[in-house]
């Protein structure tokens, strides 16, 4: 009896085990995947868009040393390639794209999305929805707006990095200009200000005589969005002003001519933080930009002795004025002309004056250009670098 019982149990187990071996539905081998490093969307016809993806070619990665030996040298092209397809939406285009790729499209490593200017002017909401909804797409991916075709930016073969997507990612991370992720973008569009700013990229012209693909896209300014539509763009100088208002200044160099002498003094920004402080006085809405920056001198092309504390005071003052000038120029464009609240003044007022905010919420568009911006900046020049007097100037010529 006991053996029968044991045998029947054994049979049950033996029958049961193969059920576990039928295979995994979601088994995906890495060599069955087409890893997309970047995606670009262009407008094709009035209805159709073109989706271009930059696909990573795994076999040539890590072979950089060998390539160098083989004389591949300067260029490391061919590590990625670009495929594109047309469709009504991203997903529609993706289906068609999949037909052209032997491996399954995988979005998990996409770190860069590029949207062309023409498409951005019509609105990006539809496309943004896919990026937020698809389970594979990472919400930390960076978004850029391209002056020309997004496809073109993907096709470029950068001399230094492995692909143009890596170039853009590193440029965004360096925070010299805007750094905007999918999360930031969608949060700011639905936020109080209903506006957003995205880094604006253009193609760096290739050197004469070189392959004209052998160059990089780089960030040259910012695209300004109201709701999900692009309303204009500002250049890199104005963008630096915008960074001050957004408290995103990370690295900057300011060069200017001191009043006391001819030539230039350049200062590198070591630390900077800023804060928007809203006020409402008798129905007049204003914002104070309070900022502190600490700088080092990195070049002195004048004959001033910058070890003399009396010059520093004047330098600090001029540094302050320089920043104020940048910010004002930016406000002139973005606040007065485009009427886009990319600095989140709305949020600042909402946080400090919730009641007043509720009243003007619906007509913020009319209020916003009227908001006056005051400055409360402090600039400190901390160190002269590792040399004292101006180099190459004899002691008699140095002015105290």
């Amino acid at each position: 009896m006991r053996t029968v019982c044991f045998l029947s149990k054994l049979v049950c187990i033996l029958i049961g085990l193969p059920c576990l071996l039928t295979g995994c539905w979601d088994r995906v081998e890495v060599n069955d995947l087409a890893l997309i490093t970047a995606a670009g969307i262009d407008k094709k016809t009035s209805k159709k868009i073109e989706l271009s993806v930059q696909v990573f070619v795994p076999r040539s990665s890590g072979g950089n040393v060998q390539q160098g030996l083989n004389g591949g040298g300067g260029s490391s092209g061919g590590l990625t390639f670009v495929r594109s397809a047309e469709g009504l939406t991203i997903v529609d285009a993706m289906t068609k794209l999949q037909e052209k790729l032997p491996r399954r499209v995988f979005w998990g490593h996409t770190e860069v999305f590029i949207i062309s200017r023409t498409l951005a002017e019509e609105g990006i909401r539809n496309h943004l929805d896919f990026m937020i909804r698809h389970p594979q797409v990472r919400i930390g991916a960076y978004v850029f707006i391209s002056d020309n075709d997004a496809k073109r930016a993907l096709e470029l073969m950068p001399p230094l990095e492995r692909s143009s997507s890596e170039v853009l990612r590193e440029l965004a991370k360096s925070k010299a200009m805007l750094k905007v992720t999918l999360k930031d973008l969608s949060a700011s569009i639905i936020g109080d200000s209903e506006s957003a700013a995205l880094p604006w990229i253009t193609e760096l012209p290739a050197d004469d005589g070189k392959n004209k693909n052998n160059t990089v896209p780089y960030i040259t300014g910012s695209a300004i969005f109201k709701k999900d539509k692009m309303v204009g763009h500002i250049d890199d100088t104005l963008t630096r002003g915008a960074l001050w208002l957004r408290d995103e200044v990370e690295s900057a160099v300011v060069t200017h001519t001191p009043k006391e002498a001819n030539g230039f003094v350049s200062m590198k920004l070591i630390k900077a933080r800023s804060e928007l402080i809203p006020h409402i006085d008798n129905g007049k809405w204003s914002i104070t930009l309070r900022g502190v920056t600490e700088d080092d001198i990195i070049q002195n092309a004048t004959n001033l002795d910058l070890m003399n504390p009396k010059h520093l005071g004047s330098l600090e003052l001029q540094l302050k004025q320089n920043i104020e000038g940048r910010v004002s120029a930016c406000l002139e464009q973005v606040q007065k002309k485009m009427n886009a609240d990319i600095f989140d003044f709305a949020g600042a007022f909402h946080r400090k004056y919730p009641k007043e905010w509720q009243q003007v919420k619906d007509r913020w568009d009319e209020m916003y250009p009227e908001v006056e911006v005051n400055f409360d900046l402090k600039a400190y020049v901390r160190r002269p670098g590792i040399s004292t007097g101006p180099a190459g100037v004899s002691e008699d010529e140095v002015r105290d």
């Binding site: 995994c24 539905w25 979601d26 998990g108 937020i132 389970p135 990472r138 919400i139 930390g140 992720t181 999360k183 969608s186 949060a187 639905i190 936020g191 949020g347 909402h350 946080r351 400090k352 919730p354």
Partner: protein, 366 residues
């Protein structure tokens, strides 16, 4: 008593922590954010009041009937027939709620990771593992919880700490912009979760140090509340108004982590939290159904019931909702009232009844 196993009060806390948290941590931030907006971190604080009350009710009832669970003492309190009927409804209720939990688990795994795997397979395998756990009795459930909770907690803390560079605390201002109402409304859904603490009535009879039951029950409620507050804050600090538009904010948050270019793609952490936590959660509910059914039918052993009930659970979890939208809609609209009435209101009425009864008996005695 049907289960000879013994657990300690601390083990009870270990079981209850993931029993409340496992599903709450993934779904609740988004559901709360919809109604509470930027005050979402206050909602779990209000909701935890229900948790404290429920633990109080459960331990008080246990004082009157130290060796009985909810199913057994309800018969004693309201009489045999009504008690049996009430017990039957409780069993059905627990079947339903467990099926919902299993479905939530399946939906998350299939929706975010195993997109092509049939959901029935994902759910059935989980139920099978839980069945082994439950068959072992309360002692095994307690020990597996003790093993999993530290891991779950560690991973959770890791995620929060790694997120710190990306958090913007100013997102939570202004506090209480529209008064208390939004945060109170938002607390409705977590209230349903906190009322699940009534399950300790199934654990209290097996406890060796029952006098500490209240204390550890309260500690469990407090830690769960704290964890949900931290989760909600972290989600809102990171996503702001976007929180309410995401289905699983914590998972997306974990994906957002990127430290030094190589420490990224951490959603496996969330998966581990989710699988470990729901394993304990399903086991606890499953155990309550199995032990409850055995008590209701006055069986001598609950083990033979384990597998058949597991089978029923998988079936119900498939029937319970046609899609995720329906499931979330149910959770964010009807569920608080449904959960609350079974898990807090009826036990409270039972307690009231027994208190009145014993008092009148006392006065008659003197």
């Amino acid at each position: 008593m049907i289960d000879k196993g013994k657990i300690s009060a601390i083990q009870m806390a270990y079981i209850m922590y993931p029993t409340i948290l496992a599903t709450a941590i993934l779904l609740v931030p988004a559901i709360t954010a919809k109604t509470a907006g930027r005050d979402l971190w206050l909602s779990p604080v209000w909701a935890s009041i229900t948790g404290f009350i429920t633990v109080f009710i459960a331990t008080r009832l246990n004082n009157y009937y130290p060796d009985m669970s909810l199913i057994e003492f309800s018969e004693h309190i309201v009489g045999r027939w009504i008690g049996k009927l009430l017990g039957f409804f409780y069993l059905l209720f627990f079947l339903h709620i467990t099926a919902i939990i299993i479905r939530e688990y399946g939906e998350f795994i299939v929706g975010s990771f195993l997109r092509n795997t049939p959901i029935s397979v994902v759910m059935a395998t989980m139920v099978l593992v839980c069945a082994f756990n439950v068959r072992g009795g309360v002692e095994v459930v307690g020990r597996t919880a003790q093993m999993f909770v530290p891991i779950v907690l560690f991973l959770f803390i890791c995620i929060v700490i790694l997120l710190i560079p990306d958090l913007h605390p100013k997102n939570m201002l202004p506090i209480l912009e529209h008064g208390l109402k939004p945060s109170l409304m938002g607390s409705l859904v977590p209230t349903g979760w906190f009322s699940e603490f009534i399950l300790i009535t199934f654990l209290l009879p097996c406890m060796t140090d029952r006098n500490k039951g209240t204390k550890w029950g309260m500690i469990a409620v407090a830690t769960v509340m704290l964890t949900i507050v931290i989760t909600n804050l972290a989600s809102y600090f990171l996503f702001g108004a976007l929180t309410s538009t995401l289905v699983y904010p914590v998972m997306v948050a974990a994906r957002y982590i990127s430290i030094a270019d190589f420490f990224e793609h951490l959603e496996a952490f969330v998966m581990a939290i989710w699988v470990g936590g729901t394993f304990v959660k399903i086991s606890m509910f499953y155990y309550a159904i199995v032990a409850g059914t055995a008590q209701w039918l006055k069986l001598s052993d609950f083990r033979p019931l384990t597998l058949p009930i597991g089978f029923i659970l998988v079936m119900i979890s498939i029937w319970t909702a046609p899609n995720l939208q329906e499931l979330v809609h149910f959770l964010s609209s009807v569920s608080p009232f449904y959960f609350l009435s079974f898990q807090t209101v009826i036990p409270a009425l039972l307690l009231l009844l027994i208190m009145v009864k014993s008092r009148s008996r006392q006065s008659r005695g003197t």
